[in-house]
Assembly symmetry: C2
Homo-oligomer: 433 residues x 2
């Protein structure tokens, strides 16, 4: 890339067909001319060589990614993070908006990841640090995707739970407990007021807790809990496994009595979720292993909302994500970005229910609710329900009590005077919140 | 986690059944007591709550991950990289070896990723920066995996190419060129001496280059090239796409005349590669989009060799990876780590051919070969063949000429006096190498 080749990688929005391009927002730190680096970034993720040798042709007009906008700031002290093998030269921090022609790969999630989060973006000369901050999709691209089958409204309809958060609980002990006592815990949680009792993301289909047996027992317990409480309940089975088994695991879980299935998004891959979406008869919930490996540091990697958008594209009805508070080491603005990515308009796609989680309990509910500012979220304690000093029924009840106090405008401490489950939750978990 | 709970997360190797555990090497930076942090790291990736409330039980003996070894060094200036929401306290850098009981999830790649690269490792209290450096597998775990179908020896047999690197070439222009001229370029490269002409990792199945048409044309060109040169050749078709289409894409490509298939490992997911491996009749080659998003920075993420090992487990016969030299911004020791992960003994699994790539040409071959120290690698120029000033046949020829000079112990510059293709390659690409 040189200053002669670079201009063909710049464009203004007005000259491009908006429906033919994704908009990719990136921040990067580069050595050398920021405009040349940005052009190179476009070239590397599209037409790295735009003509055959000896042929008068130029593939850039149709196939090049283009820089739409660029702001750069000198970093007089060099790269903000030490990078092995960093290039040399004057360093700038750059924010750029790129237009990426999605016809280069089509409406394919692996194609999208290969182009937009691929070799090109992370191996552009002069750019050792780069973070893909966001990707926005035109409606003609989105039209190829089913998106969530149920979405927030569908999930609420199933649970008959409106105008409040949905209460999930991760059954604990998460690893090691056989299906019979595991189902008893699920029942106890539902009885106290959980909407959804769920498997831990590490609990899969293993000899000490076979999925078929677990789903059958939890399914039976769920129906008992529905009769006892008069409320619809969900058992969320983790069907994470090799991708060619997901449809069969879905069937085993649903036949047993699970009425939602969970997959770990990065471990199975979002493409496998898109395939599962075509098969699924119940809501699909995704969980977040591995994502923080590339989303935590502001200087390099991928902003987590990009992966949230991919999960919504793939068809996740619920997206569990790192939530607020120091426990999850995620800045509040990033959690808000992810909440918006679930809920904001996205072509014809239904919203996904965001579930910002992490060591929650009745003691953290009000803070989370006030921070979010509305009720379209899931709340997912583990220990806050199943480690409650009075047991899981009391743990779940403490959540409902906390919510009722919030809805009534009564301070939790005041309400807790008459509600021992809430009192115990505030005492046990309040200091950590 | 407290100092009373922590000791149960420590063990010595002698007390554990080695076949029941993976060994996971991690480095991390923590605030607070490094031993408590390491215990917490084990808890979070296994039994986060190891007993029901009010039940005298302890799941740790069978299900806990354990610290086998730990070294810590104070970091008096705090975390080496600024982290949003970092915990407070005296900071240490720690290297630890953990034993992770794989019975917690079984011989499943998504299960493995969920446990070992999952929520737990990246959301351990006190540990905002952590890198999974390596994972080692016992033979009883490896016995569940097929691994590469052909491996290095099988690939060499197919190509009748022994005691030298295998010469790949990425056909360029990579994006935009229709199948007819694309096949002409492939033919030209094979004629000059490429073993394997390949699709770019971003070139998939798109209307302007349908996989079926491309594979048929390249298959026909390959057979002509085999007749013209008397050497077996491979057309490596990129079949990256939604995971439920991979088997069909494999069949389309192979029926057309492709005799190896490429998938982008992270975009499709290693589990999808494992499924493809059961179906494939030709070598599987993997490529490296996205990996650098979490492997570049030494302080946080995943060392790339972990993903290399997963690709070998999944059954990749060839693993394309970032290679040597400043262009790929990867330290030489990391490239060597990845080469070893492909080739070293790994239970019953065949070796995968490592292909360390990045802006290579006849001008970089000797350096790469000397650095590696043996011939069991693939060499994968793009522009070095297809951007050669005399065209792709000359570009490929320049690679073979360079290799012959190296094998003969003749300096390249000397040999180039009589070989204009080599001379042109050294002139065009030498400065960049």
């Amino acid at each position: 890339m040189n200053t002669t080749d670079a201009p063909a990688f710049f464009a203004s929005r007005q000259t491009l067909d908006a429906e033919a391009y994704l908009e990719v927002e990136v921040t990067f730190e580069c050595a050398g001319d920021p405009r040349v680096a940005a052009a190179h970034l476009c070239s590397e993720q599209s037409t790295a060589q735009w003509a055959r040798v000896g042929v008068a042709e130029d593939f850039r007009p149709q196939f090049a990614a283009r820089v739409l906008d660029l702001e750069s700031t000198p970093l007089p002290h060099g790269f903000s993070v030490p990078v092995p093998e960093a290039p040399r030269g004057p360093v700038h921090r750059v924010r750029a908006i790129l237009a990426h022609p999605w016809g280069n790969f089509g409406a394919s999630l692996p194609g999208l990841i290969s182009a937009v989060l691929g070799e090109g973006v992370y191996f552009t000369p002069g750019i050792p640090l780069v973070r893909v901050e966001d990707v926005r999709f035109p409606d003609t691209f989105l039209a190829h995707f089913q998106g969530p089958q149920f979405g927030v409204a569908g999930l609420r309809d199933r649970l008959k739970a409106f105008a409040r958060p949905l209460f999930f609980g991760v059954i604990k002990p998460n690893i090691g407990l056989p299906p019979v006592p595991f189902a008893e815990l699920g029942y106890a949680g539902w009885l106290g007021g959980l909407d959804i009792a769920k498997d831990d993301e590490m609990l899969t289909d293993v000899p000490w807790s076979p999925l078929a047996e677990r789903a059958a027992l939890l399914g039976e317990a769920r129906q008992r809990a529905e009769q006892a409480t008069g409320e619809p309940k969900i058992y969320l089975a983790n069907i994470t496994g090799e991708v060619d088994t997901l449809a069969a695991r879905h069937d085993v879980a649903v036949q047993g009595g699970a009425n939602a299935v969970m997959v770990n998004a990065m471990p199975v891959g979002v493409s496998a979720i898109r395939a599962l979406r075509q098969h699924a008869r119940v809501p699909i919930v995704s969980h977040f292993p591995l994502i923080a490996a590339f989303s935590r540091l502001p200087a390099h990697g991928v902003h987590s909302r990009v992966i949230t958008r991919l999960q919504r594209l793939a068809g996740c009805d619920v997206i569990i994500m790192p939530g607020f508070g120091p426990r999850m080491m995620t800045p509040a603005h990033e959690v808000h970005d992810n909440l918006r990515a679930c809920l904001e308009p996205m072509g014809h796609l239904r919203p996904s229910l965001p579930v910002p989680g992490g060591s929650d309990s009745a003691a953290t509910l009000e803070r989370v609710y006030r921070t979010i500012g509305h009720t379209d979220f899931g709340f997912v304690p583990g220990r806050g329900v199943f480690g409650h000093p009075m047991g899981p029924t009391a743990g779940a009840r403490s959540l409902r009590q906390a919510w009722q106090a919030i809805a009534d405008g009564v301070p939790l401490d005041e309400r807790a005077a008459a509600q021992p489950e809430l009192r115990a939750a505030l005492d046990a978990f309040g200091a950590a919140s």
